[in-house]
């Protein structure tokens, strides 16, 4: 197969994530939230809101944003930045879809 796919981590099928929803991936350095937007774009972010650590994977996904379930901070899935006027940014990770599988950049496991 493609040499590229060997380096990336296969974390599941795209259809395992509900459209406009998120799932958790556990890693040695904490949980990641992996989202699938309505247009099937996939994103991976640390699963901690920069505000009070809320689990972003439990938020409502709208467009390429997620609203934190604890205090409704809106976080950009692309940049990890909180929408104005709030401050803060959550770490984002490379993730891509190939043949229906969601592949995560192994750098996400490193601090």
């Amino acid at each position: 197969m493609n040499a590229m796919t060997d380096d990336w981590l296969d974390i599941g099928a795209l259809t395992d994530i509900p459209a406009r929803g998120g799932r958790v991936v556990k890693t040695p350095r904490g949980c990641l939230a992996v989202f699938r937007a309505a247009d099937d774009t996939v994103f991976a972010l640390d699963d901690r809101c920069p505000h009070k650590g809320g689990p972003l994977s439990d938020g409502i996904v709208h467009g390429h944003n997620v609203t934190c379930p604890l205090h409704s901070l809106v976080i950009s899935l692309e940049t990890g930045a909180a929408a104005n006027p709030e401050e803060g940014r959550v770490r984002t990770h490379q993730v891509r879809v190939a043949e229906g599988r969601v592949l995560l950049d192994p750098a996400a496991l490193r601090s």
């Binding site: 493609n2 981590l9 974390i11 599941g12 395992d16 994530i17 509900p18 459209a19 406009r20 929803g21 799932r23 958790v24 991936v25 556990k26 890693t27 040695p28 350095r29 949980c31 992996v34 937007a37 309505a38 247009d39 099937d40 774009t41 009070k52 650590g53 809320g54 689990p55 439990d58 938020g59 409502i60 996904v61 709208h62 467009g63 390429h64 944003n65 609203t67 379930p69 604890l70 409704s72 809106v74 950009s76 692309e78 940049t79 930045a81 043949e99 969601v102 995560l104 192994p106 496991l109 490193r110």
Partner: protein, 814 residues
């Protein structure tokens, strides 16, 4: 010396390649053309017009015998190549070996068949070649023939439309949430489904096919949810795969397709490939325009000319007469992207442009696609549109003009649309009153038509009808809209959902002119509630539009853990239930067990992934979810009543339990708390609840609209019921009226402040017919929605919400 060229596959790409070859240098090659089908090149794009009867097979043949003869092409139709021997440079078929100097593989693609039980039954047909069309037409001749098409993409819909035109009863099953999801967004998908349904095609989205039924031939299709559609044929149109077997066997490099370089050469320089079987720079192509480009390139490569295939921006159109759609480029959302949305509810038009850095990168259109190529040219040219941005969406014909009319959605309503639900006043009557009697104020319209004179929730809409009828002659007061996606208030939206019979979110977005393509986290939960409350039979609850508590059926806590609260009917429990709760607390290391104000026990600090197992344990002990997290019925608090209390006048505990059993599981605009006290001492504190019943010797005093939260408010009594049954009916009718009319996140007391207690009383108490109709509608909704969410999530697909997608903790961080 003339070289030998062997071509495998007589499809659209190879036909075009041969044309280019002969045009440039007719004598360069001696060509042998193999085709597995017993015929030559024809225009596969035109299969759907042949299916529908708009064209004949003869009309879509692109190259006939005369053409092959003229160009001295040896045709070997109906003869499949079975092997390529690269060492000896020959291809093998049943007629023997054929030598080549250059070989062109154009094997195209094969239809993907879902691995379902019954897929091999007679009557399961792909939609790939003229023989498939022949099989479909054969089935269409049966009386009352029924077809099920699996796959709501381009191909599936064209097949469906064709079969429908041939008189068949057609159902389209599509696994995604809307049709053609690769090319369309949900709004355009909604309009497409509406158009197809108008022409008699049934569309079933989110359809998981479980099996194709039948003994020897197809009889029907079974879905995961148990639905069965009868079928004489099943057309499988779920996708195509590159046909690469010959190339693979010959040891040519393959990824998803046969990999080719920019000159369309495979890993063997004497073998070239084009069409749907190839992969170029990681991309597969299925549309005709890039395949024709490949044909041009391969012809030049064969003649040793330099040529390079460059991928281009693609656009899609659906060949179904009357369904006008267009899509091009990239229309996903993003923070660095902006969108311009135009909707015309009256004409069923939707247009959306996606912009990035002042260029158009994507366009989706439905209903009016005349400007599609104009937008496509701007996408291709990456043109800076900053200067024309304001009028861009109107296309090339537009030259300056006024902003969009915010009243367009109301103006588009038909005259029969009911504006005032209380008094049954439709739009036409209001317009007639305004124009006929020269009315110009809200009060005049109210007294003349009764519109908005009862609960008053449609006031905003009546004002908009005034404004759209009188133009500048009426000044609209400003009201607070639901969110930035719309100018309508919650009350307007609720009324219009009923009046327009809007039964899905895309329907609301389109018909009410939503300014965003898919709503936001503010409007989506509200719309989800309005739709399920108004259309319990039609609307499918959307979990992704719910707050996590209602999606996970547990209360999220500040550290991301959850609390679990089993129902205790009327606050009564048993030793066995308490034991099961204690066991669960031990087993899952619950850090806090707390008795709540609603007379039940809360287990706090449970990890999300432990929820399904804990629920399974509690379910096994006979307990169900307490819905302590929902906008729905929470608890019915009770005192002990006549069973034990020396002051008790009625069986307050029993009534509380019966009410809770009747009302649990219903969704409401906000949470609903109830209580029943057995005597006026009111130990159950019923007078600060949303509905509180206080028993006396004479009967049951039913109070509504209490509050003991941000605001403190005592209930007001609306009725004294003689019997328990009457008390139940009045309570249920009140809750249903609240469900049907209140703004999302208004508790009952806030809603009553807006509509007035007299109006509530008149429908729930005074008018017995209205009361019983409300009760019937509530019970009907409960027949669909009253189910234990825990049991549903312990097993099956809904469980995945609680499980991690992957556990990489043991993966060494390399």
């Amino acid at each position: 010396m003339t070289e030998k060229l062997v071509v495998i596959g007589a499809g659209m790409a190879s036909g075009r390649a041969l044309e280019h070859l002969f045009e440039t240098d007719p004598g360069a090659y001696e060509v042998t053309l193999f085709n597995g089908e017993p015929r030559g090149n024809y225009n596969r794009l035109m299969l759907s017009p042949v299916l529908s009867g708009e064209k004949s097979y003869e009309e879509i043949v692109t190259h006939d015998d005369a053409w092959y003869a003229e160009n001295r092409v040896t045709t070997r139709f109906g003869e499949a190549v079975t092997k390529i021997d690269r060492e000896r440079k020959v291809v093998v078929s049943k007629g023997g070996e054929t030598p080549y100097d250059k070989l062109l593989i154009a094997t195209g693609s094969y239809p993907f068949i879902l691995p379902l039980p019954g897929k091999d039954l007679d009557g399961v047909i792909a939609f790939r070649d003229i023989d498939d069309v022949g099989r479909m037409l054969g089935a269409a001749e049966l009386p009352e023939a029924k077809a099920v098409v699996i796959g709501g993409g381009l191909l599936g819909l064209e097949a469906a439309a064709g079969l429908r035109l041939r008189g068949m009863e057609v159902t389209v099953l599509h696994v995604m949430g809307h049709l053609m999801e690769r090319q369309l967004d949900p709004s355009a998908g909604y309009l497409l489904a509406k158009d197809l349904e108008r022409r008699g095609i049934r569309v079933h989205c989110k359809a998981q096919t479980k099996a194709i039924l039948g003994q020897n031939r197809v009889e029907g299709v079974l879905l995961e949810d148990g639905t069965v559609y009868e079928a004489d044929i099943v057309v499988m149109a779920v996708g195509i795969r590159p046909e690469t077997r010959l190339a693979r066997d010959a040891g040519i490099e393959i990824e998803r397709g046969i990999t080719v370089d920019d000159a369309m050469r495979t890993s063997d320089p004497d073998i070239l490939a084009i069409g749907e079987c190839v992969e170029h720079r990681g991309m597969l192509y299925g549309l005709v325009a890039p395949l024709y480009d490949q044909a041009k390139v391969v012809a030049r490569t064969l003649l040793a000319d330099e040529a390079v295939f460059l991928p281009v921006e693609l656009s899609t159109k659906l060949k179904v007469t009357g369904c006008d759609l267009f899509s091009a480029g990239d229309f996903s959302e993003g923070p660095d992207r902006e969108e311009i949305v135009f909707r015309d509810a009256a004409r069923g038009v939707y247009k959306r442009l996606v912009l990035k850095d002042n260029t158009i990168i994507g366009a989706v259109m439905y209903g009016d696609t005349a400007d599609g190529s104009w937008f496509l040219s701007k996408i291709k040219a990456k043109e800076d549109i900053a200067a024309e941005r304001d009028t861009l969406i109107f296309g090339p014909a537009y030259a300056g003009g006024a902003a969009l009319d915010p009243m367009a959605a109301v103006a588009a309503l038909p005259d029969e649309a009911e504006i005032c639900g209380c008094n049954g006043v439709c739009k036409g009557k209001i317009v007639q009153a305004i124009t006929g009697s020269g009315l110009s104020t809200l009060e005049e319209v109210r007294s003349a038509t009764k519109a908005s004179s009862s609960c008053g929730q449609c006031t905003g809409l009546v004002e908009q009808v005034l404004a759209s009828t009188l133009g500048d002659g009426f000044q609209l007061p400003t009201a607070k809209p639901v969110c930035k996606c719309t100018d309508f208030t919650h009350e307007d939206v609720r009324r219009l959902i009923k009046a327009g019979e809007l039964k899905s979110m895309p329907a609301v977005w389109q018909e009410l002119g939503w300014k965003t393509s898919c709503g936001c986290h503010v409007c989506r939960p509200a719309l989800n509630f309005y739709l399920l409350a108004d259309w319990p039979d039609d609307y499918v609850d959307d979990a992704q539009s719910r707050f996590i508590n209602e999606r996970a059926h547990a209360n999220i806590q500040k550290d991301g853990t959850f609390s679990v609260m089993p129902r205790m009917w009327g606050g009564v429990t048993t030793a066995a239930e308490l034991r099961a709760i204690a066991d669960a607390a031990d087993k899952f290391d619950v850090p806090m067990v707390k008795v709540t104000g609603g007379q039940r026990i809360d287990l706090l600090g449970v990890k999300k992934e432990d929820l399904p197992e804990m629920w399974a344990d509690l379910n096994a002990a006979g307990m169900v979810s307490g819905h302590a997290y929902t906008k729905g019925l929470r608890t019915v608090k009770t005192c002990v009543g006549t069973d034990f209390c020396r002051f008790g006048t009625q069986d307050s505990t029993g009534l509380g339990i019966r009410l809770e059993k009747r009302l649990w599981g219903s969704w409401t605009p906000h949470k609903v708390k109830m209580a029943v006290s057995g005597c006026p001492r009111n130990c159950a504190e019923a007078t600060c609840k949303d509905v509180g019943i206080v028993c006396t010797d004479a009967g049951f005093n039913i109070g509504v609209g209490g509050a003991a939260g941000l605001d403190l408010k005592q209930t007001e009594v609306i009725h004294t019921a003689r019997t328990e049954e009457e008390a139940m009916d009045v309570t249920v009718a009140f809750v249903q009226l609240y469900r049907e009319n209140a703004k999302y996140l208004d508790r009952p007391y806030r809603w009553i402040e807006k509509v007035g207690l007299d109006w509530v009383k008149s429908l729930v108490v005074d008018d017995l017919q209205s009361r019983m109709a409300l009760v019937a509608r509530f019970d009907h909704s409960q027949s669909i929605y009253q189910k234990d969410p825990w049991a549903e999530r312990v097993e099956g697909e809904k469980r995945r919400e609680f499980e991690p997608l992957a556990d990489l903790r043991l993966k060494a961080a390399e």
